[in-house]
Symmetry: C2
Subunit: 241 residues, 2 copies
């Protein structure tokens, strides 16, 4: 039962409570209360609090500065899971979203697995777009997108650096998006993706797969996102039935 009563377990629980409060935006001035205050409010010893703060530091959520205290390094952005919204649509309230367009091209022979998910006819081309999302300049996610050619081709002329794909699709094609099937995984960062997202090798990331359909049900957009877990959390309010 070491996990439930040992110091490591207590520290994990204290870190959970603090992570929740950080994500909820409770520490508006960016500074956590001192260890004594945290110790009282969380009902844990100073040693446990110190260990909890170290866990949050390892997650890149806080930095600890001698003589200053514990500072929240970056806001963690909450993405609602209640409706289909592009990242930028949701995140504009948090800061300025920009994109490094790493690839944007017509691919003559897309992988059959992708063509299958997009229900493309045999021999059809597809459009591939890869963007690194930044929020206030810092990397947030790497988004790889496959689009049906009639949907994707008009987008290649548009402002891919500044705009959400969802907004661009609806604006450029006049087609209304209907719904998306989203699957969320947690993974660790391989070295190449860690470099791009500016996190340590092995850091926790979300891997999000999203298949988006037009309102008539036609699948047009297959996306694979890698999102920094130190800057991003998913949030939903779920009804019981």
């Amino acid at each position: 039962m070491a996990t439930t009563t040992g110091r490591a377990a207590q520290a994990r629980r204290a870190a959970d409570a603090l992570r929740q409060r950080i994500v909820a935006g409770e520490f508006e001035d960016g500074r956590l209360p001192d260890e004594h205050v945290l110790s009282r409010s969380l009902g844990a010893s100073r040693n446990v609090i110190r260990e909890a703060l170290n866990l949050l530091r390892d997650e890149n959520l806080v930095v600890r500065r001698r003589g200053i205290g514990t500072l929240v390094t970056a806001h963690t952005y909450r993405h609602g899971l209640d409706r289909l919204a592009g990242l930028a649509e949701e995140l504009t309230s948090y800061g300025t979203v920009s994109n490094d367009v790493r690839e944007a091209q017509v691919v003559p022979r897309p992988p059959p697995a992708i063509a299958g998910r997009l229900a493309l006819p045999p021999g059809s081309e597809a459009v591939y777009i890869e963007r690194l999302r930044r929020l206030d300049g810092s990397p947030l996610s790497l988004d790889s997108t496959w689009l049906a050619p009639d949907i994707g081709r008009p987008l290649l002329e548009r402002d891919l650096a500044g705009q959400d794909l969802f907004a661009l699709i609806e604006e450029a094609t006049g087609a209304a998006l209907g719904s998306a099937e989203v699957t969320v995984h947690a993974v660790t960062a391989e070295p190449d993706i860690a470099r791009v997202l500016d996190v340590a090798d092995g850091a926790a990331l979300f891997a999000i797969d999203r298949l988006t359909r037009l309102s008539d049900g036609r699948p047009v957009d297959v996306e694979s996102l890698r999102v920094r877990a130190d800057r991003f959390a998913l949030r939903a309010v779920l009804p019981r039935s």
Copy 2:
């Protein structure tokens, strides 16, 4: 642009496509097609496919057996994010859920941060329950739950090893649950939690915070879950508006 065109990037994309198909339950017999078939269907070289399979092996999603091929090690269970359901309620279709009850007790002085989230009056006790969830015997998640005392006390006499807390709350108290606010983080496993969940140190986990309310809005249940990311994915179908 090494990430978009190099072999590591291609392998990551191939792994993404395969992970999606594994989670969707496409390989019903538990065996992936051979490298040649995967190479054709994913439009990638054999070397890239091999690297992608190694990534999935590192995630614990598949094992590779010489002379046999690549086998899906465990089903990955999809948890819907469209309504409030207990894990066991959703997972019974996948297998048998059981719980090791690690702690179940009245705590005279719960941490103030917890008492605050549960809106407990000053000096109130609370009930703490910690359970290791198993699906078909294998660890899936560690669930730490704080309950308001009037809701939690009757549960201490119930079948905590066999039943979902949500079902128990509704059955034992006659109170109907209303909704929950859920925040989902991705984290890596510290050594103590890795041991309990039977994963490698540093493996990806979901950390899920859930505040559940009765139908009258009263908060009664604060949960912190650590869920193995190799056995679990979140899924939602999102409408555009």
